[in-house]
Symmetry: C2
Subunit: 457 residues, 2 copies
């Protein structure tokens, strides 16, 4: 049958000079619910990154994946193909077990600002690449850039040198890592194919794997202020990412944590740096401190600096009390040309020109503070970006005075708006008031930590 086979290997789907047959078959196969081979997934990622596979075929496949899903094996293949699409950060020059930490994004989530100096003070080298914020969640790099002089764009050699010298550095993520993910994410963003668990997991893990750490701790947020809205999907995402990380040879642990109300009290770049400093001083808000302890103790355990989570917590607690964690933050800021005085006293961070209270509409108990609405209000005050290239006001944001479970009297201040822009203040105030759900009974509070994947370490 050889001649026959030869006759039949014709290209039935040709555009210009390029035969699209292979990609067509891949779309069709997945559309019919069949599993793609490793070779087919590599062909897709390599072809799309090189520009040989057009956007319209890639978006058709992404939508097919949205509907048909990917098996664990396919998800790992997709992740590795994206991770292999560009450079990999070489962290081997840094001695010790490097542990990376990633949050899926929440409102008021300044744990990275606390954790980087905290675990570095415990002797874990932290070479952190971080993103800028988009939409209602802030980015760690934006927050650090509210410190006067702080430079987040470090050349790779300098980055490695700083981690080796001071034990920690936080830099912007380079476009050379996982370029396939960058290109695919931009396409998903305009074709309504972002919220697919295997695609989210692949996107996050491809960057984490390319970023080169030996172990990865993930904070998967769930709630109205997070990307994932229900607990079941959050655990599914957590399990998927942990499975990918372990298969890629990086020990990976995920916590599923609540994001129904903002973390801590401050939302907005400089406001969050201030709260992080307070936390490193041992005076942080309970939920933020608890989350940093939970994530930090896992990081210490994975780095071999603590034999179990309890020991890890004890080490971290001591570092907060002794001031060594704050000292490490000061060193990190100084190493990246920021003004270290922000860790010592007020007055060195940018301050908003307009500061206005938001009064409570009713008397009662705060049942919930809708994190999504607070995040959106903070973005509209200038703290976040509507679009990728929007300018942001580093001083802008919201400081909550009341959180879920607190008693409030009508007219009492629930939150304070910080901004440089008078416009739309009335409308934004209404959004914040709507974020506060006030009722008669003292509410049962949502847990901060829903669970860990794996369940024990």
């Amino acid at each position: 049958m050889a001649p026959n086979t030869q006759v039949l290997t014709i290209c039935l789907s040709r555009i210009g000079d390029v035969c699209r047959m292979r990609m067509y078959d891949i779309i069709l196969k997945k559309r019919e619910g069949r599993e793609l081979t490793t070779g087919e997934i590599k062909h897709f990622i390599a072809g799309y990154t090189a520009g040989d596979i057009p956007d319209y075929q890639a978006s058709a496949l992404l939508m097919t994946i949205y509907f048909q899903g990917l098996s664990d094996r396919e998800t790992v293949d997709l992740t590795m193909a994206m991770s292999d699409s560009g450079e990999r950060a070489a962290l081997s020059a840094i001695p010790g077990i490097k542990v990376d930490k990633h949050s899926t994004g929440g409102v008021g989530d300044k744990t990275t600002l606390v954790l980087v100096p905290l675990v570095a003070a415990a002797g874990v080298p932290v070479a952190k690449m971080s993103g800028r914020g988009l939409g209602h969640t802030g980015g760690t790099v934006d927050k650090l850039e509210s410190i006067p002089g702080f430079k987040a764009e470090l050349e790779h050699g300098k980055f490695i040198e700083q981690v080796s010298m001071t034990g920690a550095a936080v830099v912007t993520q380079t476009g050379h890592l996982a370029p396939a993910d960058k290109k695919l994410y931009a396409l998903r963003d305009v074709t309504a194919t972002v919220d697919s668990i295997p695609l989210i997991a692949g996107s996050i893990m491809s960057k984490k794997i390319a970023a080169g750490a030996d172990a990865i701790v993930l904070d998967v947020k769930v709630g109205n202020g997070a990307f994932m809205r229900d607990i079941e999907s959050s655990f599914k995402l957590a399990r998927t990412m942990v499975s990918i990380g372990n298969l890629a040879g990086r020990r990976t642990v995920a916590l599923v944590t609540g994001m129904d109300q903002p973390l801590g009290y401050a939302v907005g770049n400089a406001l969050e740096v201030k709260e992080a400093v307070e936390t490193l001083r041992g005076r942080g808000p309970g939920d933020l401190v608890e989350l940093c302890m939970a994530l930090g103790s896992v990081m210490l355990l994975l780095a071999g600096k603590a034999g179990n989570l309890e020991t890890g917590r004890k080490i971290l607690s001591d570092l907060l009390v002794s001031g060594k964690a704050l000292e490490k933050f000061k060193d990190l800021i100084a190493a990246q040309e920021g003004d270290p005085r922000v860790t010592m006293e007020d007055g060195f961070l940018p301050v908003a020109t307009i500061i206005e209270d938001v009064p409570a509409s009713y008397t009662g108990y705060v049942q919930a503070v809708h994190a999504g609405k607070i995040g959106r209000a903070a973005m509209l005050l200038g703290a976040g970006r509507e679009k990728k290239d929007s300018p942001i006001d580093l001083s802008a944001g919201i400081v909550l005075r009341k959180k879920a479970g607190d008693r409030v009297v009508a007219g009492e201040t629930t939150a304070v708006m910080h901004t440089g822009d008078k416009q739309n203040l009335t409308a934004i105030k209404k959004i914040i008031q709507k974020a506060y759900e006030i009722g008669e009974k003292k509410p049962e509070l949502q847990p901060l930590i829903y669970g860990m994947v794996p369940e024990s370490l």
Copy 2:
């Protein structure tokens, strides 16, 4: 809330200078299984035709429609939007009720060649626009062009004039009709989104409605040689198209007919013209004659030339016996500059240089002649196009000697190959032999006509 609303109507999905927000929302809405409004469907079709909506968003929506389907209302809206995207053929200058006929495509389907002169001889004006073939099914225009001199590219005025003068004309479909469908079809073809019932129905009916006839008769083929493989889906497609046609004010009737084996005996352009001429002479193969009678009587009824289907059949039968139908074919060919002698005697149609028998592999009863395999074999012999711009050999094809139910002895000729190309003949012969399923028992034959939509007229 007006200022707030204003603040929030920002474009969150921007590529370059264009806001993709509206199309993004349309994709998301359909992805979530919600019904699109008429305005949203019009926005998509108008924007895509104008080039404002990029291919990658269109393909994401097409794949979403593949998975989520379209309601009857959405399907009608899509069809009308595509139909309105270009010109509409003006047939009003032609007196009488114009009836169009469309087949979803089968192997050896030369009914249009028979029906156009046959119903025209009964006084129904036929202004037929037809396509060229692609893949394993042939196009009416290709078949007619095997008649020496025949011109299928008529200017619109001349087309109308010919229908008014001789009662019939067959021309190539102009690209000015339903350009949105043309553009969308090309995208579906490379993104594995062709086989969706609402998209197929919309594509066919948008062209039929734009082509301007007052009534439409559809032949929905089902079987291994057709696009639709199962009877249930075929009836669903038939009902969808009939519903669209009627809502668009065109009386529409569909027959669901079998395409498990080729229609008649001849497959290939000149070979099919010869069989059509035989049929118009009253000596056609039973299945082809029966299908022409069934479709033709519906056409006569819709055109008001017969009070019921039985009367219609009687009229058609008389026109075959009297030679008037053949005479009309001769007039049609002459009017379009073809050699009318092809209707009178052999020797005027192109003949293949290589004619070779395909012997039966076994002795027994032919259980089935796989239409899809015969169509592919004919294409490989040169009768069809692999790609849109492939040249075709008008003399090439296959003439069956045996069909399902026939007795055959091993070594006896089951079919005859006609080609101008020696290459691959052995492999093609094997495909034809595989198309013949031979067994011991006399098989129960599949029905030729499965049913009509609506069930009665």
